[in-house]
């Protein structure tokens, strides 16, 4: 069967349109017409690009030059759309586009949902687990880089530093890498652990302590961060979230900025709730293996929390938020876990030295 319609033909040589009578042979699936010079042209339908823009059907044929025909006749347009559909000329892409607005909205919501869920749950989990793939030396490089950059300007107390290192030597800290303790003279109530085993304690937090068991509690907590590579895990988490978002949004150049940013904020890197919990638990265990009164940890946290009410919020809280939840957790540990403690005169003496 042959269908006939009127169209405008552009020959790819000039912008002038030619009015043509276009025929469509449904058996051979060929479009044919005569151009201005009376030459017959045959276009095989599947070699022709078909666009439907609003009411207008547009055929494009050839590569150099591209020739085209526009058809407005409604009956022919709807016939051809149906014909292509029935002949299987509609590919999967056009099917996806042709699903309609409602389906697209559903699709968009679905994608957003999956993206959101993986951003919140899957990606951080994968990133954290993939930390094992990062060589441990990298932790050391990162930590020492930060230490070198930041410690030049800080006032290190050599005497207290020595005493603190001796204090730590007396303890079993379950550490896998060599630990190095540094006391910095500063009123800041804070302490932080770097991934390379450098643990920095500000004299401000030491001043607020009353007894050596509190210091053991603090060290136990910080050492647990190092032992579990929490810094590196947080770094991977933060970075993975960013990489994920930028992959979705198609933005690449921000990733390096995040790496740089995180190195600079290692000190105030806010650990996640579960990392704090893990460190509290392991800190508690360190207290108990060293036969130190676990109330020390509880007392320290309580006092820090009380100080929070003051004008100057201890920085320790902002990077390791002491929540009521954490205090409850330690209380529960004390109540449920068996422990035994004795007085440790050596630690007591060293603590006095550190406090001076």
């Amino acid at each position: 069967m042959t269908h006939k319609t009127n169209g405008l033909f552009y020959d790819g040589q000039s912008s002038a349109s030619q009015k043509i009578e276009l025929f469509f042979d449904t058996d051979k699936k060929v479009l044919f017409f005569e151009n201005r010079n009376g030459e017959r042209q045959n276009w095989i339908l599947i070699d022709t690009i078909v666009n439907i823009n609003g009411q207008i059907l547009n055929f494009q044929h050839g590569d150099n030059p591209v020739q085209s025909i526009n058809i407005e006749e409604k009956d022919f347009v709807s016939y051809l759309i149906l014909f292509r559909k029935n002949s299987g000329h509609i590919n999967w892409y056009q099917k996806l586009i042709g699903m309609g607005f409602k389906a697209h909205v559903v699709l968009a919501t679905l994608i957003l949902g999956i993206v959101g869920l993986s951003y919140i749950y899957a990606i951080p989990w994968v990133a954290e687990k993939s930390v094992v793939l990062i060589p441990k030396e990298y932790d050391d490089d990162l930590g020492s880089m930060f230490f070198k950059q930041n410690m030049i300007f800080n006032n290190i107390d050599i005497h207290k530093t020595n005493a603190l290192n001796q204090f730590a030597k007396e303890l079993k800290l379950n550490n896998t890498k060599k630990l190095k303790f540094t006391v910095v003279n500063s009123s800041v109530v804070n302490a932080f652990a770097l991934p390379d085993g450098n643990i920095v304690v500000f004299s401000g937090i030491l001043d607020s302590m009353n007894s050596y068991d509190e210091l053991v509690g603090l060290l136990g907590h910080e050492v647990a961060h190092v032992n579990n590579r929490h810094s590196m895990k947080m770094l991977c988490r933060n970075l993975s979230g960013y990489i994920f978002v930028s992959a979705i949004l198609g933005d690449v150049n921000g990733i390096m900025a995040v790496v740089g940013d995180n190195v600079n904020t290692l000190q105030s890197l806010s650990f996640s709730r579960e990392f704090e919990r893990q460190s509290d638990l392991e800190g508690f265990e360190i207290l108990s293996t060293n036969k130190i009164n676990p109330y020390g940890m509880l007392n320290l946290f309580k006092r820090l929390q009380e100080e929070e009410q003051d004008i100057s919020m201890p920085e320790f809280l902002s990077s390791h938020p002491v929540t009521i939840e954490r205090i409850k957790f330690i209380k529960k540990l004390i109540q449920t876990r068996p422990f035994y403690f004795t007085d440790n005169p050596k630690l007591k003496t060293l603590f006095k030295e550190i406090k001076q």
Partner: protein, 319 residues
């Protein structure tokens, strides 16, 4: 017939695309890009451009973007290889304990690529765009453009950025004046000095009005870009005139912002469609070139590398 050729006629530029149709394209692109872990990106880009060009029309006839995902994919692979090579050379310097040299090399490399990317992007986009079967084309000379580009950059650095407006206008002028539409040529009459004053005025008035003047500043810039552009063929010409107002820009930006916020970004498609429509409906095109008499003159150019480099470097297509 002779008479009608030199008659001045008004032509209508329009954007017919609907937000919902564009939304469909974006969502399907998004889905396929995620499923293929990004490999689909070049095809997605081609589909998007095909839609945007295809919905733009002049006197009721639509433009066509002939670029394909395959071409863009090839270009993308080449562009990525180029960046990898640059990165390898940088790491080689780092390995030789000369990280600073490596970094300098990397950035100089990227700056050196810029004019090549702009040139390639123009050649590709123009050659792959047509109207009534007649291709656009870009005839700029690569080496000449590279030389000019670096002299503009150099002058801008030496003058601490004061030369910036001249650089912008000179570059536009060079690029646009090398654009052909079949046997018709574009001309751009902008001048760096005027552009400098326009921006100076816009900058200070925006500060004094706490930013409100920004929309009028934008109007001035748009007007300066559009009104100075014209199409020439033999002794005939077609001029472009902007009718945008600062208030119009303000309304556009305000509503667009609301759409983006209240749809959590999903309304992006409508924002694009509205913006295109706004811009196109605010350009008056009139002149005595017979748009039925344009002859095909420009060659095909299918290498999308420059266009893809521009995309990776996040450069907006300068047009």
């Amino acid at each position: 017939m002779e008479n009608s050729l030199s008659e001045t006629k008004t032509h209508k530029l329009d954007f017919q695309g609907s937000g919902s149709a564009f939304f469909g394209i974006i969502i399907v692109n998004w889905l396929l890009t995620i499923i293929t872990l990004g490999v689909y990106y070049p095809w997605a880009k081609a589909k998007q451009l095909q839609f945007l060009y295809g919905e733009s029309s002049l006197d009721g006839d639509r433009f066509t973007f002939h670029g394909t995902g395959k071409e863009m994919f090839r270009g993308f692979v080449k562009a990525i290889i180029l960046f990898i090579v640059l990165a390898i050379i940088m790491f080689f310097f780092v390995f030789l304990k000369m990280p600073l040299l490596g970094l300098i090399f990397f950035y100089v490399g990227i700056i050196a690529i810029l004019p090549l990317a702009i040139h390639g992007s123009y050649r590709y986009r123009m050659s792959r765009t047509s109207w009534r079967g007649i291709r656009f084309g870009y005839r700029g000379d690569r080496n000449e453009f590279i030389k000019k580009f670096f002299s503009w950059i150099g002058l801008t650095i030496i003058t601490f950025g004061i030369y910036g407006p001249w650089m912008v206008i000179n570059m536009r002028k060079y690029l646009l004046e090398n654009v052909r539409f079949g046997d018709a040529e574009f001309e751009y009459e902008g001048d760096g000095g005027d552009y400098f004053l326009l921006n100076l005025k816009g900058y200070f008035l925006s500060i004094f009005t706490l930013g409100i003047y920004m929309f009028w500043w934008q109007k001035d810039i748009f007007q300066y870009y559009v009104n100075n552009l014209s199409l020439h063929k033999e002794d005939k010409k077609i001029t472009l005139t902007s009718t945008v107002t600062g208030g119009g820009f303000f309304k556009l930006a305000f509503i667009n912002l609301f759409i983006i916020i209240f749809t959590l970004g999903l309304g992006y498609a409508w924002v694009v469609a509205r913006t295109m429509k706004f811009i196109f409906s605010n350009i008056i095109i009139e002149g005595n070139i017979d748009l039925d008499s344009i002859q095909q003159t420009e060659e095909n150019f299918k290498d999308a590398t420059g266009d893809d480099i521009s995309d990776i470097l996040n450069m907006d297509f300068v047009m």
